[in-house]
């Protein structure tokens, strides 16, 4: 791994800052997120309320800090699940080949052709919107992408000489995956994890923005945008600030990946 570029350093700092904000929200937030602290609703930026106040007169800074817990936590969990399922299926498909590979590839390819927000809407329409449903839906929606990548990488590594040598030594499939293939997949899988994390954040905040994601009184950054959206007609910061929070996180993660993996990030979902 190379040294980070200056942009990469800034990006890493932003990502770490949000992670710390999420972890220590109760310690840094000036007010409890649910408490109405002023009569001045949808107020502008001020010393007392650095990010303004929301439609009920709650402190936006505290709400954004607490919102980071939902946005980061849920997205991290969904992404981890998606990558776990995708990598497991991808490795198995690459190692076993045959009908298993063909069936799984066909079905997951069909899943990719359903746009992600559409798929999430369909799931929520039947199961309702709760945090476990959202996590499961996002994980399943982004499994095919992780599968495609890990399968492709694993097939490549599988064809290398050192794997052939290990196989000739008489090692079993499980050993091959664990000792030979997996260690060589870590960088591409980590890069993919970051990309997928951004997609999951955008999907989940998008669902919340539509009112079909995290439900109040819980509030992620998408919910914060939605509940204050009426303030948009006079430019209240309560609408823009949580949206900017999402943007700083996603842009920073993308810039960080770009700087770690080198070159431009080209692939879609």
């Amino acid at each position: 791994m190379r040294r980070l570029s200056p942009i990469g350093m800034v990006a890493l700092a932003v990502v770490l800052a949000w992670a710390l904000a999420a972890l220590f929200a109760p310690l840094i937030a000036p007010y409890p997120p649910g408490r109405i602290v002023t009569r001045d609703s949808l107020a502008d930026l001020s010393v007392a309320f650095p990010l303004g106040t929301d439609y009920l007169g709650r402190d936006m800074l505290s709400r954004v800090l607490y919102g980071a817990r939902y946005t980061l936590g849920i997205a991290l969990l969904s992404t981890a699940l998606a990558c776990l399922m995708g990598v497991t299926l991808g490795l198995t498909a690459a190692a076993r080949g045959g009908w298993f590979d063909m069936t799984v590839s066909r079905v997951l390819d069909a899943m990719i052709s359903v746009p992600s927000l559409l798929a999430a809407l369909v799931v929520v329409s039947s199961l309702g919107s709760s945090i476990p449903v959202l996590i499961a839906a996002a994980a399943v929606i982004y499994t095919p992408g992780a599968y495609r990548l890990s399968r492709a990488v694993a097939v490549n590594i599988n064809a290398m000489d050192f794997v052939a040598v290990a196989r000739a030594r008489g090692e079993g499939t499980l050993y091959l995956i664990r000792a030979e293939i997996l260690p060589n997949m870590i960088l591409p899988v980590l890069t993919d994890f970051g990309l997928r994390f951004v997609f999951v954040v955008l999907l989940l905040t998008g669902m919340s923005f539509l009112g079909l994601g995290i439900q109040p009184p819980n509030a992620d950054w998408g919910t914060l945008v939605r509940e204050n959206v009426e303030g948009l007609s006079f430019g209240a910061p309560a609408v823009i600030m949580p949206a900017l929070a999402i943007a700083t996180l996603t842009i920073a993660v993308n810039a960080l990946i770009d700087s770690v993996a080198g070159g431009r990030v080209t692939d879609g979902r």
Binding site: P115, L117, V123, S125, L210, L232, A243, R264, V265
Partner: protein
């Protein structure tokens, strides 16, 4: 068109239909995950057992799931996707009402997006590594990493609130002249175009760069062909397939954008209809909208595949 091409096109068509079939099974299964009973949920807790049983029979809920899937699939193919659970109106009529609005939005967006995205993609690929390429690249990474509602909110903030050039709502009922319509649609189309240009131009750039780094382009350069000639005569004919594919695949991202944009601007299109149906949990309407969007997307990908096959010079003389 020759036999080899015809065979490839036929294969693509079959694969596309197979994918659509799998997608329909996925959509149906996803909406069947609901534990409990739609009939009970609809009628509420005070419903009599006979009423529930009657509704169950009317909705075919007393039949096994695979049979309901076939009934539903048959209905979709025959143009009758059922009746709304919420307002008892035929789903087909509700979709028919909204379809023209969505097509209008889609076609205007396409007219703006595709030429701009192709220009950006081709020029950044031609001058890759230049300062122009890097600046455009950073802008594009910024746009595709940002939620659509941020772009839309900023647009409203700047053009409707601060500058007062444009109205904040996209829809007004009643007759309107062409200019009013353009002013009303400017922000929704602008937001969608930005999202689309971001995805499309970077996929176009990637496709063209692969071709520009191949050995026959190197050869053309060594023979002394100028950069414009290399791109137009040597690279573009070979990159046409991947570029058309890139354009079709980016509509997947655009669809997410349409859902957000129709909601934020209160535009009465299909995506808004679907979002409303999800919040009232009107399953037949959700299923039909989802299938319509997926079918449209798969059709675009299929057309792109066929164009790519037809445009592939290596398949031309055989």
């Amino acid at each position: 068109m020759n036999a080899a091409m015809l065979r490839l096109v036929a294969l693509r068509l079959v694969l596309g239909l197979l994918t659509l079939l799998i997608v329909s099974a996925l959509v149906f299964t996803a909406t069947e995950l609901l534990p409990g009973d739609v009939a009970e949920a609809l009628l509420g807790q005070s419903a009599t057992p006979t009423a529930v049983a009657g509704l169950r029979a009317a909705l075919h809920l007393d039949q096994p799931a695979w049979w309901r899937y076939l009934l539903w699939l048959g209905g979709l193919l025959g143009g009758d996707p059922g009746i709304s659970l919420v307002n008892r109106l035929p789903v087909a009529a509700q979709i028919g009402n909204r379809l023209p609005n969505s097509l209008k939005l889609a076609s205007i967006t396409a007219c703006v997006t595709v030429p701009l995205a192709l220009t950006l993609g081709i020029t950044t690929a031609m001058w890759r590594g230049s300062r122009y390429d890097r600046i455009v690249g950073m802008g594009i990474i910024g746009i595709v990493s940002v939620p659509e509602f941020l772009i839309a909110s900023l647009a409203v903030l700047v053009f409707a609130v601060k500058l007062r050039w444009l109205p904040a709502l996209a829809f007004r009922s009643g007759p309107q002249d062409f200019w009013t319509m353009l002013r009303l649609l400017a922000m929704p189309v602008g937001t969608l175009a930005l999202v689309g240009i971001g995805q499309m131009s970077r996929m176009t750039r990637a496709a063209l760069v692969t071709v520009l780094e191949s050995s026959y382009v190197e050869m053309a350069r060594l023979k002394g062909a100028g950069p414009i000639r290399i791109v137009l005569v040597h690279a573009l004919p070979n990159a046409l397939g991947p570029i058309v594919n890139a354009v079709a695949l980016s509509t997947s991202f655009l669809l997410g954008g349409v859902i957000i944009v129709e909601t934020i601007f209160n535009y009465p299109g299909l995506a808004k209809l679907m979002v409303d149906a999800v919040s009232t949990r009107d399953l037949p309407l959700v299923q039909a909208c989802a299938m319509l969007f997926c079918a449209a997307y798969l059709a675009l990908v299929l057309i792109a595949d066929v164009v790519a096959i037809l445009a592939n010079p290596r398949l031309r003389q055989r």
